[in-house]
């Protein structure tokens, strides 16, 4: 302590000398010689490693070294030097590189720290820039502002993509707003307001129960595809015998009552209750050879409830025009009630699908009929693939549907009820229209939308518009009020989170906190506390943050932060090759993986787990498909459930998550470089320099003659590459044990061999995986579990990295120099208490000084 104080004084006095005329800052002689002795040989005129050069940084003036402190580049350079020294990354720990003593390094660190702090303090405060609600925040805010239920169709579907800067979608500085945004906001606001303030129903709410005649499907069938769907007279049910896991492969018409296209069409927007009874038939009791049925019958049969927004959505190309709103595991031979309330726009068509069904090819059905049902005559197939088989014991008139005993979904009493009165007339909405005084209605809507009290002047402006709309545009009272609400919803006060010039007010602080923890507007309790000003007390913020994290809305934080920190948003941007990784689609792995990581974060928060579990957790959330992919037994059903990983599983912590392993691959091959960079950036907080501009990426060769390790060997032999890659690649090699969708492997894939005689698919293995990664420090690890253990020894780096990401997300701006002391304090507090967990860390950020400074 005492020594650093002395150094502080020594150099501090020097930095204050500013040479007159230009904003030149004195460069300390010790720092200058440090750069000369330890840095410039690689980062100077002769070599430009990592694209960083220091030889032009300082100039001589009156026998002294000075640098231009008004040049931002120079400050970035200093920050960079400081980061490298603090992390112990530079000078590289090599035999032929001269190493400074600890005292020398400490001196330089101290001087740069002080200089930057001083320069930051002199410059105008670097504030967070007013920022726009991103798409997630907009959607959540509308839900909370208007009190909406579940909507089948997303009114924000045509929003321009949010700008992403280092994973963050909430940094005002990097956001754009164009007329395309305004257009999308106006369109969405109209749609939302129609839902929140519906006109009185033209039709009485009705319950339509669909009869057999409504479905437009046969009740007897002599051809094999009958199992697609058939009316079963005996059980008065619709039996569904075909269906897809992945509806993009969907090539037959959806299963829905045909009368929804005609006399029973949804003609008015509203909340509707869709209900039916369903059970699984024949999953375990069918008498056939199970290997002949192309569906996994060890899993419960799943029924998906979908909404097609229009006719296009029920056809094969319409994947953008439909959405699954529920997925249920059916009980075997035990009918249960299923229902869901959802807002439907006019023309919507709800339909059902057997989501883990056998597809729609009927060859397997023909094979079964030929083997087991020789007492029928049947046809199938189409065109040149058509067939006609007469069984040797054929009994005239006996049909496939008389004898079929394969697995099916049995659905009864499918009904649609609505528009539901209790949902269409929200109390809030009614209140607004019942107000005799439109100014009052405006005040209450505006202050909720602007997340602050509004002034009389502001109300007058909008009131004026309402009057004009009535008088000049000939609108009714109702239309004029709604049109004014629309203006509220595209005004900068709603779209932006704006803060006062000098400091954050208590009301603005409430928004900071709620957009941090909920990605949405503050609720009543938070607004009330904000009004008292008590939110400035850290203890009050702690209480509020703890309360808010217990709320269901905190799942929005888990999802949004996973996007920003772990780059989960990249999952799915490079879809895995469907021929190489068919199981990704067949088991619907993408969605499950994303859910796994979300659920993982949610539990880390809910149960305040130690942050080290991000690296080492022996638990996760799996469903049957994902468990199969991870080779974990005894997980049944489609919903994600808490699962302890087996002792011999290679997976531990986030690096075992399929989501992370898939998003760090390109959908076809794996790359130790991509995965290494991911570890450095997101877990260790040490982003490597970008590759030099004149270097081409690897021209990958997967023919099997050379492994990726051999292809990357030039990274080690070329000095220019080695500097960075010996820091990157070692973290990626142990993860080579996972393929491009995170499946465990011990050898590379070389191809598949299809045996026509036996119909067997054999995989041809390539070289064995060599997971050995060695850091320059001599540390080495050879498999994923080793890597987790190693990362645990770097826990403090991890905690810093996580805290910085959290703070960036919470503040919606990049961190700067002046934030460092507070970051250190937070990290110190969390690491000082062995009991602390992830929730504590979030609460600590929410209650820190960072939140209250502009």
């Amino acid at each position: 302590m005492s020594r650093s104080t002395i150094i502080f004084i020594l150099f501090w006095t020097c930095t204050c000398q500013v040479i007159s005329g230009r904003e030149m800052h004195l460069l300390d002689e010790n720092v200058y010689s440090f750069l000369q002795n330890y840095c410039i040989s690689c980062h100077g005129a002769d070599e430009e490693k990592g694209d960083r050069v220091f030889h032009q940084f300082a100039v001589e003036r009156d026998g002294k070294r000075v640098f231009d402190s008004t040049n931002r580049e120079n400050l970035y350079l200093l920050e960079d030097i400081l980061d490298q020294l603090n992390l112990g990354e530079m000078p590289p720990n090599k035999d032929d590189v001269a190493q400074p003593s600890n005292t020398e390094t400490a001196r330089v660190v101290q001087w740069i720290t002080n200089t930057l702090t001083q320069l930051e303090a002199d410059s105008s405060p670097q504030q967070r820039v007013m920022r726009r609600l991103n798409r997630r925040e907009y959607r959540n805010t509308m839900r909370d502002l208007l009190g909406l239920g579940e909507l089948a169709e997303d009114p924000t579907r045509d929003f321009p993509e949010d700008e992403v800067e280092e994973g963050f979608r909430n940094l005002g500085e990097y956001q754009n707003l164009t007329d395309a945004h305004l257009d999308a906001y106006l369109t969405a606001a109209s749609e939302y307001l129609k839902i929140a303030f519906p006109e009185f129903p033209k039709e009485e709410s009705s319950k339509r129960t669909f009869l057999y005649s409504d479905w437009g499907i046969p009740d007897e069938e002599a051809t094999t595809p009958f199992m697609y769907r058939v009316y079963n007279r005996k059980h008065n049910s619709v039996d569904i015998g075909a269906g897809y896991k992945d509806l993009t492969a969907f090539s037959y018409l959806a299963t829905f009552p045909r009368s929804l296209l005609g006399r029973n069409a949804i003609s008015q927007g509203g909340y509707y209750r869709i209900s039916f009874k369903a059970e699984a038939i024949g999953r375990l009791t069918h008498p056939y050879d199970a290997t002949m049925i192309p569906a996994d019958l060890t899993a419960p049969l799943q029924i998906g409830l979908y909404i097609a927004f229009n006719r296009e959505g029920i056809g094969s190309g319409g994947s953008n025009q439909r959405r699954r709103i529920a997925l249920w595991d059916l009980k075997d031979i035990q009918s249960e009630d299923y229902s869901k309330v959802v807002w439907l726009n006019p023309g919507a068509i709800p339909f059902l699908n057997w989501d883990n069904g056998p597809g729609s090819s009927n060859n397997w059905m023909r094979d079964i009929c030929e083997k087991y049902h020789t007492d029928i005559e049947f046809t199938g197939g189409l065109g040149s693939n058509a067939w006609h088989v007469i069984g040797k014991d054929a009994i005239p008139g006996r049909k496939v549907s008389d004898v079929w005993q394969g697995p099916m979904l049995r659905v009864r009493d499918f009904a649609i009820e609505g528009p539901l009165a209790e949902q269409t007339h929200l109390p809030e909405a009614r209140k607004l229209f019942d107000r005799p005084n439109h100014r009052q209605a405006l005040r209450s809507f505006m202050s909720a939308a602007f997340r602050r009290p509004v002034t009389q002047d502001e109300i007058e402006g909008y009131f004026q518009m309402m009057t004009n709309a009535r008088e000049e545009l000939g609108m009714t009272d109702r239309q004029a009020l709604l049109s004014t609400f629309k203006a509220v919803l595209v005004s900068p006060d709603f779209l932006y989170l704006r803060e006062s010039r000098e400091k954050v007010t208590s009301v603005q602080l409430a928004s900071r906190i709620s957009y941090f923890l909920w990605s949405s507007m503050p609720d009543e309790e938070l607004r009330d506390i904000a009004a008292t000003g008590e939110l400035f007390l850290p203890s009050v913020r702690q209480e509020q943050a703890a309360r808010m994290l217990r709320d269901e809305k905190a799942l929005q934080f888990a999802e949004a932060f996973a996007e920003s920190w772990l780059r989960l948003d990249k999952l799915g941007s490079m879809p895995p090759d469907s021929s190489k990784f068919w199981e990704y689609y067949a088991l619907e792995l993408g969605e499950s993986m994303r859910g796994e990581t979300h659920q993982f974060l949610a539990r880390m928060i809910r149960e305040n787990r130690p942050v080290s579990e991000f690296l080492t957790a022996d638990w996760t959330y799996l469903n049957q498909g994902l468990a199969k992919h991870y080779e974990v037994d005894d997980v049944i059903g489609s919903s994600l459930q808490f699962t302890k990983l087996p002792a011999d599983s290679p997976r531990r912590g986030l690096l075992g998550h399929g989501s992370i392993l898939t998003l760090t691959a390109n959908g076809v091959d794996t790359s130790p470089v991509n995965r290494g960079v991911w570890v450095l950036e997101n877990l260790l907080g040490k982003p490597p320099s970008p590759p030099p501009p004149d270097v081409e990426s690897l021209d990958t060769d997967t023919r099997g003659a050379r492994t990726i390790r051999e292809q990357l060997a030039k990274h080690r032999s070329h000095a220019a590459c080695a500097d960075c890659h010996e820091k990157i690649d070692p973290y990626g090699f142990p993860l080579e044990y996972y393929n491009a969708i995170g499946g465990y492997r011990e050898t590379y894939f070389r191809g598949r061999w299809w045996n026509r005689q036996t119909s067997e698919l054999t995989e041809i293995s390539g070289a064995s995986i060599d997971g050995n990664g060695q850091l320059h420090s001599g540390q080495s690890f050879s498999n994923p579990r080793d890597l987790s253990q190693y990362l645990l020894t770097e826990q403090s780096l991890f905690l810093f990295a996580l805290t910085r990401k959290l703070a960036t997300y919470a503040l919606a701006r990049k961190l700067n120099y002046r934030d460092e002391p507070e970051i250190k304090r937070i990290v110190g507090k969390i690491s000082g208490n062995p009991e602390s967990g992830f929730r504590d860390l979030i609460i600590e950020v929410a209650s820190s000084k960072l939140m209250t400074t502009r």
Partner: protein
Amino acid sequence: MVLGCESKPSNYISWTKSAAQVPPVDRLSVLYNLLFQKSNVAQKNAKRREFEERRSILDLVRDQAKSIDKEVATADKEKLDQYYTSVREMEQKIEKASRWLNSPKPETDYPTPMGLDNLTLAQRTPIFYDLMTLALQTDSTRVITLSFSELGKDNGGIPGVQSGYHSLSHHGKVRKAIDELALIESFYVDQFARFIDKLKNIREPNGQTLLDNTIAMLGSGMSNGNSHSNRNLPVILAGAGLKHGKHHQFARQGRQSVPLCNLYVTMLQRFGVETDQFNTSNGNLSELLG
């Protein structure tokens, strides 16, 4: 006119001045209606009322933005300016849209098949080009971009292709994958050639062909997807009476290479735009092409 056929946000190719992506029209039915659908009186009136409402909303929010202008910090001013600009640009678009509403739509006897949006890529691509030709011919637009990225259902319906475009582009030097990739790329080039032929066969009032009055460029953002290389990008240029019929190679010399932007400068100049610069250009290719 910004169009996309199986395009996705990471591959959009049109951007505004302020660097915001312009999402393309990706459904043929929508494109067809934009170009040729005639509105009846009731539809026109509904549109007009919508325009009026939007104008009054924009008037109000502009005033509101002005009133907060005084309160905001310097850094926020820029954001607020962006908001103003957007309001102004949207007003201009409303004016344009109301002119378009009132202008007579061209007649066409172009037949569109049923289920236009459910076709495969191979079936849709020629229709995109046909509608683009009609749009140019009827002077409904002067600038068109069309982007492709994935193949969509049935691997685009291109005979012989058994995997996705992206997967195949990471071919790992496997022969079979490269062969399939060649099928996809031949498809794109064939379709472009067919488009050029169509333009060539249309006479314009000034006696020249539609191709003579148009510059058409086909290119890709990568030259080798397997190594993600964006050097030596393959580009085909047609039309506008430029010097054609030659394959130009621009060899790299050390760190020096000819930026593709030089070609864009020449194209802009050919359009009559007075500029000698575009993005990273350091010259133009007028001598080679002019």
